[in-house]
């Protein structure tokens, strides 16, 4: 029987979340580790789908299950989960991957509970073992420990992956067979849960996940002024400014969308320069895949130096001033 790997393609506000493309790339790789015939498919729900199917095909979807309805234009777990669960029961995929976005983090486990199957949460690695089972590595204790999770007896084997963990492949010419899911009967009205609106914030400057160089501040920044210096330096480079949890909590940084770590973004820029970062596991987990890692901290014992290619024990304020002075 054909082994099926599915990817949930999150389509919000007429935009496909790029994590779907990262997952399709990974799904193709996993398929090559399975014997016999395989099929990579995307599951797409929403309205006004436009060219999304073409994009999914270019990144490896051979089949697309498309549930298109105006009633699905806003995400609602009470509509989305039963459609997906029913589709799974009909088609019986082996593996089903979700992006661990705000929506995927809710939808994945909800679908799994309806199907009584398991989800490996926030995987950082995946492989197929000798029994052709999915083995997912998941972090615990803020990333200090990695554990392998299997789902040997129930199907599908589900997993969620945060955006930025896997690398998106190159698009190739591809055609996908489109299977329309009948959702003509669904109604968003009369549900006890009603989605009213989706508000998107405009992100200023270069988004964190697209920046070639990231300047990251920790609690050691000490003040909002220093954060603003970091932003200025990032702007000079055309890069992005990022931070750890305390910098958001202190109100120095604008919000969680610039936070890197287990509960924030995972990044892999060409270069990462940290200022006043202690090196707590929660943060390191989100930046460990960066190319070059440099850290400046006045505490010579800071754990962050152990995970840095280069470090400097120095007054970060002065180093920031010098960098801005030299490059501006």
């Amino acid at each position: 029987m054909k082994k099926r790997i599915w990817v949930f393609a999150e389509y919000v506000n007429c935009t496909l979340d790029r994590v779907a493309l990262e997952l399709l790339t990974k799904a193709k790789e996993l398929a090559s580790g399975l014997t016999g015939e395989t099929e990579v498919a995307a599951v797409l729900l929403g309205s006004r789908i436009g060219s999304t199917c073409k994009t999914l095909a270019e990144y490896g979807a051979e089949k697309i299950y498309l549930a298109e309805s105006d009633e699905l234009s806003l995400y609602n777990p009470m509509l989305y989960a039963p459609i997906i669960a029913e589709l799974v029961q009909k088609e019986d995929p082996d593996i089903f991957l979700f992006g661990a976005t705000a929506i995927g983090s809710e939808l994945g486990p909800t679908v799994a509970a309806q199907l009584k199957t398991g989800v490996a949460a926030h995987c950082v690695d995946m492989r197929i073992d000798e029994n052709e089972h999915l083995v997912a590595s998941v972090p615990s204790f803020g990333g200090k420990i990695l554990g392998e999770i299997l789902c040997p007896d129930t199907r599908p084997q589900m997993a969620s992956v945060k955006p930025g963990i896997f690398v998106q492949g190159e698009p190739e010419e591809g055609e996908a067979e489109i299977i329309r899911v009948d959702v003509s009967g669904i109604k968003a009205d009369n549900l006890p849960l009603k989605a009213l609106s989706l508000e998107k914030k405009e992100i200023e400057g270069v988004p964190l996940d697209k920046a070639e160089v990231v300047f990251c501040g920790g609690y050691g920044l000490g003040c909002k002024d220093c954060w603003e210096k970091l932003e200025k330096l990032a702007a000079i480079f055309g890069g992005a400014a990022a931070c750890t949890r305390p910098v958001v909590d202190e109100g120095w940084a604008p919000g969680e969308h610039v936070m890197v770590g287990t509960s924030g973004k995972s990044i892999r820029p060409k270069a990462y320069v940290g200022f006043g970062i202690s090196g707590a596991t929660h943060h390191i987990c989100g930046m460990k895949d960066s190319g070059l890692v440099i850290n400046v901290n006045k505490d010579e014992k800071a754990a962050v130096f152990e995970v840095s290619d280069a470090g400097a024990v120095a007054d970060l304020n002065k180093v920031l001033d010098q960098l801005i002075l030299k490059l501006n």
Partner: protein, 281 residues
């Protein structure tokens, strides 16, 4: 309206100490000796949300956890914050549960408490951090549920107006009671416990229920009821060479620029800006 509110909490090793967690090379088990067990931080936002609603509308707040017997200490803290009663689900049969089996057991405990208007959970636990129990508990309970709630107000007697996080934004919802909300740390600021709270907590009931106290199917509990199985554990090796840059702030800045240049990062200079202008003419 007097509200029946249930808050799920989880005792976790204090996340401030996770750098000290390691794997015993002999037993291959996680060692977390000496790390204090606390109420999972974001679960306190759930307790706070419940106490605020109770203050506004009246009612009763019950905290519940599935944990080893010594979790009574954490429940006492929740009672000292102001919860009215506590339930500990504790049984060897519950051990080794993944999120599906945990949420099933919690659902059965909540059933035994006897009806609810709102169940609060934290978005995720600090240790396992799967963030799945809240949504899966909502499914077992068969009520509408939302995850990552950071804003909440009662819009009518039987309905809450709620905001949840979305990628670079948020969603707004109306959710009818009974419901379950997975709350995030931005929702509120959990209160500190007072001396009076601790004194009052001494007279508040803590019920301890095992498997035989609940109407459960054995095959849904613990390790048996868990579709996921744990394989090998390991600590990722993230060490890098750690070359130290020395000298004045200026020298360090120069060294950083050189390293960035060598790594292929475009180094902006004033000269670049001039040449772009020149090129445009």
């Amino acid at each position: 309206m007097a509200l029946k509110i249930v808050v799920c909490i989880k005792p976790v090793p204090d996340p401030d100490y996770y750098d000290k967690v390691s794997i015993d090379p002999v037993t291959k088990r996680i060692t977390r000796e000496g790390i204090p067990t606390i109420i999972n931080p974001v679960d306190k936002n759930g307790i706070e949300a419940a106490l605020k609603l109770k203050a506004q509308y009246g009612g009763k707040v019950t905290v519940i956890t599935m944990a080893p017997p010594n979790a009574t200490e954490n429940l006492k803290e929740a009672l000292a914050m102001g919860a009215d009663e506590a339930v500990l689900l504790s049984d060897r049969a519950f051990g080794g549960a993944d999120t599906l089996a945990t949420s099933y057991t919690l659902a059965k405990g909540i059933e035994k408490i006897g009806g609810f208007d709102i169940v609060f959970c934290g978005t995720e636990s600090a240790d396992g951090a799967t963030a799945q129990v809240s949504s899966q508990l909502g499914e077992w309970l068969g009520v509408p549920h939302l995850w990552s709630v950071f804003n909440m107000e009662a819009s009518s007697e039987q309905c809450l107006r709620v905001k949840t996080k979305a990628e670079n934004g948020f969603m707004e919802w109306d959710i009818k009671l009974p419901c379950l909300l997975g709350v995030s740390r931005e929702l509120n600021k959990p209160r500190f416990i007072s001396a009076m709270g601790i004194i009052k907590a001494k007279n508040k009931p803590i019920s301890i229920w095992g498997k035989s106290d609940l109407d459960v199917e054995d095959e849904r509990l613990g390790l048996t009821g868990s579709p996921t199985k744990a394989g090998a554990i390991f600590t990722p090796d993230l060490k890098r060479k750690g070359e130290m840059l020395t000298g004045s702030a200026e020298e360090i800045a120069d060294a950083i620029i050189e390293k960035l240049r060598a790594a292929g990062v475009n180094i902006p200079t004033q000269g670049d800006a001039c040449s772009i202008e020149g090129g445009a003419q």
